[in-house]
């Protein structure tokens, strides 16, 4: 793949992102950007998972768990009140370093929490560490056993956030403060900050895509495809398959955690539904209907399905529509949605990158 070919679609996407914003602003309908922003964060999880499933060939039914680690740790550390322990050495050191956040609750009580940046790095760090430690034994498993192990990881995280008081039990965590990225730029759900948040989310998604596209076309990407083809053969030609799989697992977990953390600041809260098994299944299903090893397809499906669901377009039939879409695409276009529209109808004869 030539460089132009790799970057042109990205440039096109960037143009479209800007175009949508301009059109929305011009027609006074910027409210659409709210759901597009949320969908972009979910898409970040999805493209990360696409790398793991489509390119490295490893299924994960527990990615909502990584999303939840990112979201919940960010939320808890930035909204929990640490005033009671403010005299400890650790807290005083943090305070002196400017890493503590003095803010007020909705009712004017003063709170002492961690700075969102610090919480963000802790959250991502924990997710990466867990992915690393978990990945070593889990990725030795195959097929259904791997599916079960990742599903199990997701269930454990779900149970922990649902049972732990620190994570708010069933109610989750509310009133998460905005995340000041730099002066004048904050991840927050304020209506006035919507356009900048739309750009933050999409810039991040574009950056993620760029990263993954480069990775796929690197030595690492070729190694992954070899593993997907046949692990034994890949091993035989000198690829360290265990390491390659582990790296991909960690990268995709990090993507999910970043998305979880930022979406939580955007929403101002997080609840246990974000960690549920159904969420993980949704991510996997969207990657599958996008065409497995097709970042663009996964992204398109991720945006469309999440956008419509978050706008409540299907009312009480949300799950039914989702199930129906899954079934139809898997029955009639097993190569993913893009293969149906483009390969068969418009650009026949071009072999797909997907498997």
């Amino acid at each position: 793949m030539g460089l132009r070919r790799r970057y042109l679609p990205l440039a096109g996407l960037l143009a479209a992102v800007i175009g949508v914003q301009l059109a929305a602003s011009a027609t006074n309908s910027t409210f659409y950007l709210t759901q597009l922003t949320m969908a972009a964060y979910y898409c970040l999880v999805i493209i990360g998972l696409c790398l793991l499933m489509g390119y490295a060939g490893q299924i994960s039914l527990g990615h909502a768990g990584f999303f939840a680690i990112g979201g919940y740790l960010s939320a808890a550390l930035t909204s929990h009140n640490f005033t009671a322990v403010s005299d400890t050495l650790l807290m005083r050191t943090l305070d002196r370093a400017g890493l503590l956040l003095h803010h007020q609750s909705l009712y004017g009580d003063s709170l002492l929490s961690l700075q969102p940046w610090l919480a963000f790095f802790i959250a991502i760090g924990v997710a990466v560490l867990i992915a690393f430690v978990l990945g070593i034994p889990v990725l030795k498993l195959k097929g259904h056993y791997l599916a079960m192990a990742t599903l199990g990881f997701g269930i454990i995280i779900y149970r922990i956030v649902l049972a732990a008081e620190f994570f708010g039990e069933a109610d989750g965590i509310s009133e998460v403060p905005p995340f000041q990225l730099m002066p004048g730029l904050a991840v927050s759900g304020d209506f006035s900050a919507r356009v900048q948040n739309y750009y933050i989310a999409w810039a991040l998604l574009l950056f993620g895509l760029l990263l993954l596209l480069n990775l796929i076309n690197s030595r690492m990407g070729r190694a992954l495809r070899a593993i997907h083809g046949s692990e034994e053969a890949a091993e035989a030609i000198g690829i360290n398959t265990a390491r390659a799989k582990l790296y991909t697992f960690v990268i995709s977990a990090a993507f999910a955690a970043v998305a979880g953390s930022l979406l939580t600041h955007f929403n101002g809260g997080i609840g246990p539904s974000e960690a549920s098994v159904m969420k993980s299944v949704r991510y996997v299903a969207i990657v599958a209907v996008g065409g497995m090893a097709n970042l663009w397809g996964a992204m398109a499906m991720g945006i469309i399905l999440n956008f419509m669901s978050l706008r409540g377009m299907f009312g009480s039939y949300d799950d039914a529509v989702f199930g129906g879409v899954l079934l139809l695409i898997m029955l009639f276009a097993p190569q993913g949605i893009l293969s149906l529209r483009l390969k068969n109808i418009l650009w026949a004869k071009r072999p797909m990158t997907g498997k």
């Binding site: 027609t27 649902l162 109610d171 989750g172 997080i270 539904s273 945006i303 009480s316 483009l342 650009w347």
Partner: protein
């Protein structure tokens, strides 16, 4: 090289088309009321709530609306997911420009959109039980169900009469159970009651006989309090009675759904719980202040939907009726309506008689609850 590009553009175009704004001109004399309810998903509360709201809106519009303004109801099904509730709240406020929002059904969702309501100055009338929603008070947030703490107090008062001092508390791991559990822990010492065991079961639990064995093993337990809204609350009473344990069982107001009684069968007999009077509407004395309201709502609902009325629909009923009253007084100015809400007095609803003040955004008092029990498979007032 163009394939990828074209493919991308087509993909983007598809997204773009979805985002093409469809202009919805609001009618000049329409008051839009949004509702975020969990019609699907693990908690089933949204169904009676949505049914009730639809019924009331129809009735109201048939009578000519509020001050001749038609009411338009927009119901969003959040399935109990906070992230959807957040998205819908923003959508309703900004896009639909709703006058007020009724719901959400669960406390977790309500807590997430509380701030949005405050910042956009939109009246939020929650149908969830948790105390935290209105305590501390937020300017724009109200709620219609009775207070958890009042339910807990009612139970403890009854226990004192029965000379019960040591109890076990079991709750479900949903918002309703968690909030109730918190209040029980907080208030118990005031009544000199000691909680020996406190356990949380899963909202989808299908058998709790192991939990019952654990409770039974503690011989000091004089009563069990079970606080939840899910089917498991009727499974646990079955398990207790099957084990031959004759301990008094107290439930929360979440038990106010006859289906749980039917499911538990004989085991439900004698369960004691606080609830609004909707459940015993027909047997109230004729001069009871709530009788007329309750009987009418029950009759209308059961005729229209062919299913038993439940207290949860009643919470939506109260929210709707109170909101309508306030709009009648305050007109279409949100600030005036909010102020009117804070001054509403003696509104007879299904949950009790509401008296709002600036400091009390729930307006109900301890006497909104009566202690009920189950007799011959039916709800009845509890008398000892």
């Amino acid at each position: 090289m163009n394939n990828m590009l074209k493919r991308t553009i087509v993909g983007i175009a598809a997204v773009g088309m979805l985002a093409v704004p469809c202009l919805q001109a609001a009618m000049a004399d329409t008051i839009k009321i949004g509702a975020i309810l969990a019609e699907t998903g693990p908690s089933f509360l949204g169904v009676p709530e949505a049914n009730t709201l639809r019924m009331l809106t129809e009735e109201l519009n048939a009578k000519g609306g509020i001050n001749n303004n038609r009411v338009e109801l927009i119901i969003k099904d959040s399935a109990g997911d906070p992230e959807k509730a957040i998205s819908f709240a923003k959508q309703l406020i900004e896009e639909e420009k709703v006058f007020a929002i009724i719901g959400p059904s669960t406390s977790g969702e309500t807590m997430k959109i509380k701030k949005i309501a405050e910042e956009t100055q939109t009246i939020l009338f929650s149908c969830a039980a948790a105390e935290d929603i209105v305590n501390p008070v937020a300017k724009w947030v109200f709620k219609s169900p009775q207070m958890d703490s009042d339910a807990a107090k009612k139970i403890f008062i009854e226990m004192q009469k029965m000379k019960i001092g040591k109890i076990a508390v079991v709750t479900s791991n949903d918002g309703f159970g968690a909030a109730g559990g918190k209040q029980l822990q907080k208030i118990a010492p005031d009544f000199g009651i000691e909680i020996l065991i406190s356990e949380v079961y899963d909202k989808t639990a299908t058998d709790l006989s192991a939990l019952v064995a654990k409770l039974m093993a503690n011989k000091e337990i004089q009563a069990v309090v079970n606080w939840s809204i899910v089917p498991a609350q009727s499974i646990i009473i079955k398990n207790i009675r099957q084990a031959g344990w004759k301990v008094p069982i107290f439930q929360s107001h979440g038990f106010g759904n006859i289906k749980f009684v039917q499911a538990a069968g004989e085991a439900a007999e004698g369960v004691i719980f606080p609830a609004g009077r909707l459940l015993v509407a027909d047997s109230l004395p004729d001069n009871h202040i709530q009788k007329a309201v309750l009987v009418k709502y029950k009759k209308d609902y059961e005729e229209k939907y062919k299913e038993d009325v439940s207290t949860f629909g009643g919470h939506a009923y109260d929210a709707f009726v109170i909101l309508t009253k306030a709009i009648e007084q305050g007109g279409t100015d949100k600030v005036k309506v909010r102020d009117a809400l804070e001054n509403l007095k003696d509104i007879v609803g299904t949950a009790g008689v509401f008296n709002f003040t600036a400091a009390d955004h729930n307006g109900l008092s301890l006497d909104a609850f009566d202690m009920m029990t189950v007799k011959n498979g039916k709800f009845a007032l509890y008398t000892n």
